[in-house]
């Protein structure tokens, strides 16, 4: 099975994901150009990397959703297969309507780049089942527009359906309900601002992120049977 990493003009965490999947998880990643019409037939998971797709024109993630490949990414998500958007990938998935809410400018207006402690509040997803419930993990954040917003009605729904997956322990950006990462209602699409791919080897200061990719890979392998 392939792990499809979507590359938009301006994506810049694509190689980080590729490296983690190939060298740390020992699976087969493949870069998929945004102009492609279709994902490879043997795609097991789609990963939308961080960066500044289309230069963040209009709003971060707003233009990327019109890329030709996004139609098939939506179709892939609709069939219940795993899709993860990290940082700009999260912004793209909200703009594409695959996840609820939106990402605003950080409350402080600063671009914040630092390790950030998070709590894993939902370890019952295919992305997090290798974590302990409420485990503290340290993932780097690096964003200017990571301030998650949704209205009260959506927030109630997120809570009721257990869609909040990661929360900040020390909210750095003003996010509603300290939200750092959510899944869709079906639980197969994850969006998160922090970067697990930058925390998957102890030489980089921590390997908590590896558990996320191990969860994902185990789920994809199990689906293949």
């Amino acid at each position: 099975m392939k792990y499809a990493i979507i590359r938009f003009p301006g994506s810049n965490c694509d190689w980080d994901l590729f490296y983690v999947l190939r060298d740390v998880l020992k699976v087969t990643p493949e870069f998929i150009d945004y102009r492609e019409q279709q994902l490879p037939a043997d795609t097991g998971a789609v990963l939308v990397p961080g960066g500044f797709s289309y230069g963040d024109y209009l709003r971060s993630g707003a233009i990327a959703r019109f890329s030709p490949i996004m139609e098939d990414v939506k179709h892939f998500a609709d069939t219940g297969k795993p899709v993860i958007g990290i940082c700009n990938g999260f912004q793209v998935l909200t703009e594409a309507g695959l996840l609820p809410g939106a990402l605003r400018h950080n409350m402080s207006l600063d671009f914040i780049c630092k390790p950030q402690p998070l709590s894993v509040v939902n370890n019952q997803t295919l992305f997090t089942d290798q974590f302990e419930k409420d485990q503290t993990v340290m993932f780097p954040i690096a964003h200017g527009e990571g301030n998650y917003y949704c209205d009260d009605e959506t927030l109630t729904e997120l809570k009721q359906n257990n869609q909040i997956v990661f929360i900040y322990q020390d909210n750095p950006n003003g996010s509603t309900a300290d939200i750092a990462g959510i899944v869709n209602k079906q639980g197969n699409v994850l969006g998160m601002m922090p970067h697990p791919e930058r925390a998957s080897e102890s030489i980089l200061g921590g390997a908590d992120g590896k558990l996320l990719f191990e969860s994902l890979v185990a789920s994809v392998e199990m689906a293949v049977g």
């Binding site: 209009l58 709003r59 707003a62 909200t94 703009e95 609820p100 809410g101 939106a102 605003r104 400018h105 950080n106 409350m107 402080s108 207006l109 917003y149 949704c150 209205d151 003003g174």
Partner: protein
Amino acid sequence: MYHVKVYITYKPSILDPQGEAVKTALHRLDYQNVETVTVGKYFEIDIKDDGRSIEDEVEKMCDELLANVNMETYRYEIESVTQTAED
């Protein structure tokens, strides 16, 4: 032909940190009487008249792309421009 001006700002319930920062800067320049500043986006769009309702068209454009209605609100002005012979 229509000349349309679209203004997009955060919903009133959402803090506009850029507006707050600009307000603080104006206060630093001694414009102490500045009460509020809102920072938003501005678009000018020329649209051919094809018989469809221009208001509907503009609202759809705003809802689908120009604004993120989760967090932003918009208003617009539509100006009818005299068409040239080529049109």
